[in-house]
Symmetry: D2
């Protein structure tokens, strides 16, 4: 199938001209041009409060008898802002054991984060997903009433035969309870088992959900992610990557930010990495990424779920996050000891990390 080579050559020259008008380097230096897809603060859009950079998926502090502990949330906010340079949070998500809480508890937590985050945090995003549509709607309505900066919804995952249209309808019904609040779709197929590409959902969401503002993308499928990024050429929405241990690869593919549990304690290190990437300084970016990976590879090999995240966060921040709620069980003391030793042993890396 040989192409007509002359026509092709002409066409390519025209395109090249077009392309020269879009000088990415300008974008990178000035921060004025929107179409590079980087995580550079301000590199993209109009909205004063566009969600970008690092977003901590917060744990839910609990007392020793596994009840929610609202008392430490003020301290938690200060720690994130002052110690980690993280000014946005994702509350009641997977890390926050949102689906293990009652509706009432989820509301209380959302209220506390909004109250304590006032004038300190840029974005308090509240996850309002639930298996039950009426409950998810109730949570969305409440979130709007208390003035959150965004709501997010995971695909309901008890049934696996969910199709694209039904999922869109579910998301739309929830979003419509909070029409003025930015809506984020929380895409995490490895956990939900719902295998619908984010890219396929994007068109539907931008059309059907006026408040749609972005995706928390927690999957290793960077073909799907890249196709979302390709549709985000004017930076119209947030593409927040959610597989923390390989963030650098997603930045290269067009991530505009990141949501994850590790930003609770590795916020600083990831901020440096993202800045290095934005400046084109790959050596530094890789150095930080590899350090982060050395630690995360280690804990993942031990089994790294919410109980372990809570333990690491308690250890690093000094704030008592407590045990997880059932059906999860506390991280072992052996795990905590190993983590402590690993952090100390990361001679070449640990100053980057903490």
């Amino acid at each position: 199938m040989r192409l007509d080579l002359k026509a092709e050559k002409r066409r390519r020259e025209q395109t090249r001209t077009l392309v020269e008008a879009c000088d990415r380097r300008d974008c990178l230096l000035s921060g004025q041009v929107s179409s590079c897809s980087l995580a550079l603060p301000g590199c993209s859009m109009t909205s004063q409060k566009k969600l970008q950079g690092l977003v901590a998926a917060t744990v839910t502090p609990m007392t020793q008898d596994r009840e929610i502990n609202l008392a430490v949330i003020g301290q938690y906010v200060d720690y994130l802002v002052n110690e980690q340079g993280v000014r946005s949070v994702f509350v009641n998500g997977t890390t926050g054991e949102g689906l293990s809480l009652s509706i009432q508890e989820r509301k209380q937590l959302a209220e506390e984060w909004v109250a304590k985050g006032k004038e300190k945090l840029d974005h308090v995003i509240v996850h309002v997903g639930a298996l039950s549509l009426p409950e998810s709607k109730e949570l969305a309505k409440h979130a709007a009433e208390i003035g959150v900066d965004g709501i997010a919804v995971i695909a309901p995952s008890f049934f696996k035969q969910v199709n694209k249209d039904a999922l869109l309808a579910f998301l739309r019904d929830v979003a419509s309870e909070a029409p003025g609040i930015p809506f984020y779709y929380y895409h995490i197929p490895p956990l939900t088992g719902i295998q619908i590409n984010a890219e396929e959902l994007l068109d539907g969401m931008t059309e059907q959900i006026p408040s749609f503002q972005g995706v928390k993308f927690s999957d290793r499928n960077l073909l799907d992610f890249g196709r979302c990024a390709a549709k985000n050429s004017s930076g119209q929405f947030a593409l927040l990557y959610g597989v923390d241990e390989q963030l650098l690869s997603a930045l290269a593919m067009g991530a505009t930010g990141a949501v994850g549990s590790t930003y609770n304690y590795f916020g600083k290190a990831n901020n440096v990495m993202m800045e290095a990437f934005a400046k084109g300084d790959f050596c530094t970016a890789q150095k930080y990424q590899f350090c982060i990976q050395e630690f995360l590879g280690f804990v993942i090999a031990q089994g790294f779920g919410v109980p372990q995240i809570k333990a690491v966060m308690s250890l690093v921040s000094g704030i008592p996050m407590g045990p997880p709620r059932l059906p999860l069980s506390s991280a072992s003391e052996e795990f905590v000891a190993k983590v402590r030793a690993k952090l100390e042993g990361l001679k070449n890396c640990s100053y980057h990390l903490l």
Copy 2:
């Protein structure tokens, strides 16, 4: 296709007599009696109201706008008893879209089934499992208050790293809210992804949950099932198989009954199969099982989930079960047409089935 109710009543009385002659413990000790772990009604225990035989996992009737439709439940009870010979139900389970409903809706449904089932049904088992422990406890408490005949709990499945002890603790906490109500563990690893053998959980449950009465076992792993049966030598609990399309294989391995969605419309056929099996008439038992499989193999190949179950039940019973709630979407008209044709085309089998 109404059953002759008098004959039916007579048959049940005869069975009861027959059963008294069959002392399960004798069978196990002497090895002389052949029907030792069978689903013969009453072949095992002391309790007047031991759960056994077929239990219909009920669908939740909905209106066209996907709200619960309590109005048809009375009719539904009569259909099960009179047309299908099924006198026990499992409400708000997977088939009943329990986790897609609000807590309030689940309570309303439980109340309606208890009310309409009075003096008609032998057992109204209400599923009270939820991802959230406080919600599950609230439901268990309510179930006890309204006088259900049993509660059942599925493993909370959002997090997959649940271990045996934590799962037991979760189940125990729920059961303790309804201490006088028989407790059933709902084991369904293919759906929950929680891969803990039922046999491993059994010891813990018999020790820690005084109200423990049995397992709804929805898995093809008949090694695990057989090991449960081996622990049930005096018939102390119910072993209810839940993979409808291969029930006969589980009867051979010690099932004492069955819970499933297909008993809504294939109750009669399965009752005949179970009776044939109990009498040692394998030819008849297989004949019925193979007919049932011909139909179920056909619909499973089309994709057979809750929406399709609702459609089949509406078609066969004539009671409008309505669409499923989001995130599920209605079965296609094409599916319904195929089912209708298949049922008619099952020349050699359909008289067994309907």
Copy 3:
């Protein structure tokens, strides 16, 4: 632990007599006889040498340097026949590490089994499957030349996108190299990942492969298995179940025999179970099945693959089966010690088992 050979011979003769009275077709038409799809030797067909009963999936004996050890195969044959009452073998299959051997080695092994099995074994089935069609054809041709009693072929499993027609064409091409030799399809989706129902393949095989004689069905999907059995109403082919630890459930669903690694050392126990089942004595059948399951559940929980099978067989038979070939590694001494203790500790069961 030698069987009383005279008593054994007598038992086999009696069974044969019993069997002549059982005409399978009568059973199916009249519905009067209860044991219609059973594994009763001879209960079904015309062919004098129909494959039925237990078939041992043999391990491949190896020397300490992991080379095949032909020297012990004569002893192996005698052990199976005299100690286990097993008179058919499945050579070079999964248990036999067939795909880890060279073509030349597979031929040598087939030759040795045929030679040593002469006038001792009823059936020497040789597995000739390979990832490569030309190699599989070469093996089939060789098997025919040396006079095996049957060949078997697994689905080539490197590529997972194999469709039904292509798989049938592959099987047909292999079978056509040995047109006079009974052909068995080896169905094992959990290992191959090729998810095509056996029942769908059956029609194609009976039409396209004149030498087709049966299926080794190694899957827990007993809907699929039952649908095969329903197509086997006149006992025209062998339905050999291959998930040893739940054989009883498959007998109930129409299995006509069994192929598996555990029949190397639990042949006797399984023979008793099958006979009890055939006589309708469920108490005894379950008793044996549960004993077998207690042992197999234990070893499966330790990790039970070919290396462990070889170790168990060496321990029980006293014949040195040696280590497996790379990429497999030997069972640990700890495993062997545990197995030894478990066999001794099975107080209530061990007399059934060994």
Copy 4:
């Protein structure tokens, strides 16, 4: 669309000069140079013939009766070099249906590629992996005899319980048959099901296999990949990424090259992308990656395996690659028509691609 060969040669020479100025180790220590783990040709090591850049995983041309077609390999070599700018090949791998061929055929193909590639190709890497260790060793020995530039071995995947030490022993035994030939480990867990991190294997391979030179890494787990890259700080081995549709993300994580089937026809486009990346021109790199993804996302949604790769390659190159061998079946005509239309319809992208 022939490349200007002289210009191309000049470009390559310049790059080499440029590269000499770029000392990777300096980069890593000083942090001043931005392109530290890049795929810049020559940016790393001493060896004159270090494998880097794009490596085409070649299809195996076949005649209409599915026999290997050696006749077109000369033409194939010229196409890759002249039309795609690809000068290294990976022969008899997954794309090449290596495991579907006989040992004899694999040898013939290796010989033909070496013969036709002489003075045209930089690297002819021959995959010599097999399920059977003796066969894999035989192939390695042959490859050494005919003077290939490297051998590669996939994990034998029939058994899934392979552990790290046994896998290393298997690889070492194969490598030792070709001690003077660079050895590459072919890591592809999604296909083999062998879930051992490449990073864990690295230490073992560098210690035990003197000829070890690198990894073809075909997995989306970029934590594992990054940890390999962190161990490659002095560029001592090749890290060749193998998930073509997301190559850019792996470049960011330290890939030094890429092996894949799409470089047969998208070599040029990927070369431009890699060069843009190496220069820090992310706008251009993303633009090319997104174009490539638009096409690959489309074909993957149709089902994109070896048959479809062969069809695309036949279409784009004009060289008749023929059907695949059984158990694979030819791509449908409908697929080919869709691909043709898609390529034409990629208005904004196709000039980049072809």
